[in-house]
């Protein structure tokens, strides 16, 4: 078990983190695009994509909320060794990790302030799969329209309606990830 906590990091952190960041930046700047990230793994149920993303973005400066289902001794040890994030409740989180259901209502997370809308949470939502179909997306980063299978389009549309406030999402499944920034407009039928 201890072995679990110590393993799973990048073999060559500067180069691998750079590749993962570029993939994440690509996903965030082109909502709906699904990218592949590799090089990291953590204890179940953490997906390889979420592990890589956290190794790239999170450290001792980013308070982290672990949602029920992900929160557990094995993942806590992995986070402590690889990231060193303080673990905090939803309302203080810079990053949050879990399934959509376990993360709970979006209102619980920081959405930024009118003066500093960047002081908002980034949610890493673990999913069973990602598919470029479903909810129609428009807005910055999208040429015309894109489609993405989203957990709760109505709640996410409400998040987008608060722009420039709001949370930003990464959706992860296996070694693939997509992103949904607050700037994306959702077409909810």
């Amino acid at each position: 078990m201890r072995q679990d906590a110590l393993s799973g990091g990048f073999a060559d952190p500067p180069r691998e983190a750079a590749l993962v960041f570029r993939a994440a930046l690509d996903a965030m700047s082109r909502p709906g695009r699904i990218v592949q990230v590799t090089g990291a793994r953590g204890p179940a149920p953490l997906s390889p994509a979420a592990a890589a993303l956290m190794l790239t973005c999170c450290d001792a400066e980013t308070p982290l909320f672990l949602a029920p289902g992900h929160d557990g001794p094995a993942l806590r040890r992995w986070v402590a060794f690889h990231l060193g994030c303080p673990l905090v409740p939803r309302g203080e989180a810079h990053f949050a990790l879990g399934t959509w259901e376990a993360l709970g209502p979006l209102d619980a997370f920081p959405v930024g302030t009118p003066d500093y809308p960047d002081r908002s949470a980034t949610l890493i939502v673990e999913r069973d799969g990602l598919s470029a179909s479903g909810t129609r997306l428009t807005g910055p980063g999208i040429d015309g329209a894109a489609h993405l299978d989203l957990p709760d389009p109505a709640a996410l549309a409400a998040n987008a309606a608060r722009f420039p406030l709001g949370v930003d999402l990464f959706l992860t499944a296996g070694d693939r990830l997509a992103a949904l920034p607050r700037s994306t407009r959702l077409e909810v039928s």
Partner: protein, 292 residues
């Protein structure tokens, strides 16, 4: 011993990939992701001292360092030119510190760092344009207090900027602002596109990702691809992307931004493309101007 150290420095040995330490890169990367999520909003970041003076592109260099991967091909331009001091030294810095390939060709580059120009060749998906920004706050010369400009952005209170443009019209008969021309991004934030000529403003709507770094002022902002970028204007004084009324003396281009070059002390002058790669590519394709 001394030779060995010099060799190490030349090869970049002993330095982290892309110069910055990993914690600094994570901090910049988080700022970049928020900047992309809130197009046109200036995200504060903990800018580091870089091995070059402020004003030489410390913000752009930090953004580039946080973005570069070993597979990238980097192009650096200064006022459109690949062969000026600033461009040459930044390109060599990253060739050494990140081991990336470099190019002068806009079409071959995956990351382009620029000082005050947008390349003439249209950019595509997969390319990142990194701007060096001296003063990121478009309202700064109208309102010196950061607390006030921040509140003005929060309240979307941009009347003062329109007054400034109106005063241009009242005084000169037209909007005389010719560079760092303010834009509104996706209908929300007014943004300084850095001191690019207003000729380049229409190119801010592109398929490439645009990132802006201001080192001394400690701000990062972004325009995602396919984002609406509108230059501020009035119905009766619409925005106009202006350039010198001439053709390039070397390649004959009439659609590119031109530099005026004084050639002697008797009033001789010529206009040439500011974008050296655009001009060279046209001349290789046997397009010639009057002086070629």
């Amino acid at each position: 011993m001394r030779d060995l150290q010099d060799d190490d420095a030349r090869s970049g040995a002993g330095y982290n990939f892309a110069y910055l330490d990993e914690q600094t890169k994570r901090m910049i990367r988080r700022a970049l992701l928020k900047a992309v999520a809130i197009p046109g909003y200036q995200v504060p970041f903990a800018s580091r001292e870089m091995p070059m003076p402020y004003g030489w592109g410390t913000g752009g260099v930090q953004v580039t360092a946080a973005c570069l991967t070993p597979d990238d091909t980097l192009k650096v331009i200064d006022q459109g030119a690949d062969d000026t001091t600033n461009a040459v030294s930044i390109r060599r810095f990253f060739a050494r510190m990140a081991g990336v390939a470099t190019t002068e060709r806009t079409t071959e580059a995956t990351v382009i760092q620029t000082r005050h120009r947008v390349p003439e060749t249209p950019l595509r998906d997969g390319q990142i344009l990194v701007y060096q920004v001296p003063i990121p706050e478009p309202l700064r010369f109208l309102e010196p207090r950061e607390t006030e400009t921040r509140r003005m952005h929060a309240l979307e209170e941009y009347g003062l900027m329109h007054v400034k443009l109106y005063e241009d019209i009242a005084r000169h008969g037209h909007i005389a602002t010719s560079y760092a021309y303010p834009v509104k991004v996706e209908g929300r934030y007014v943004m300084d596109p850095s001191p690019i000529p207003k000729f380049d403003n229409p190119k801010l709507e592109t398929a490439a990702l645009q990132l802006f770094g201001a080192g001394r002022e400690q701000r990062i902002y972004a325009i995602p691809p396919h984002t609406r970028v509108v230059s501020l204007d009035f119905e009766d004084h619409p925005f106009e992307a202006t350039k010198a009324d001439a053709a390039c003396a070397l390649c004959g281009a009439t659609d590119s931004y031109l530099d005026e070059v004084v050639t002697d002390d008797t009033g001789g002058r010529m206009f040439v493309c500011s974008d050296t790669d655009y001009c060279a590519t046209r001349r290789e394709a046997s397009e010639t101007g009057d002086s070629a």
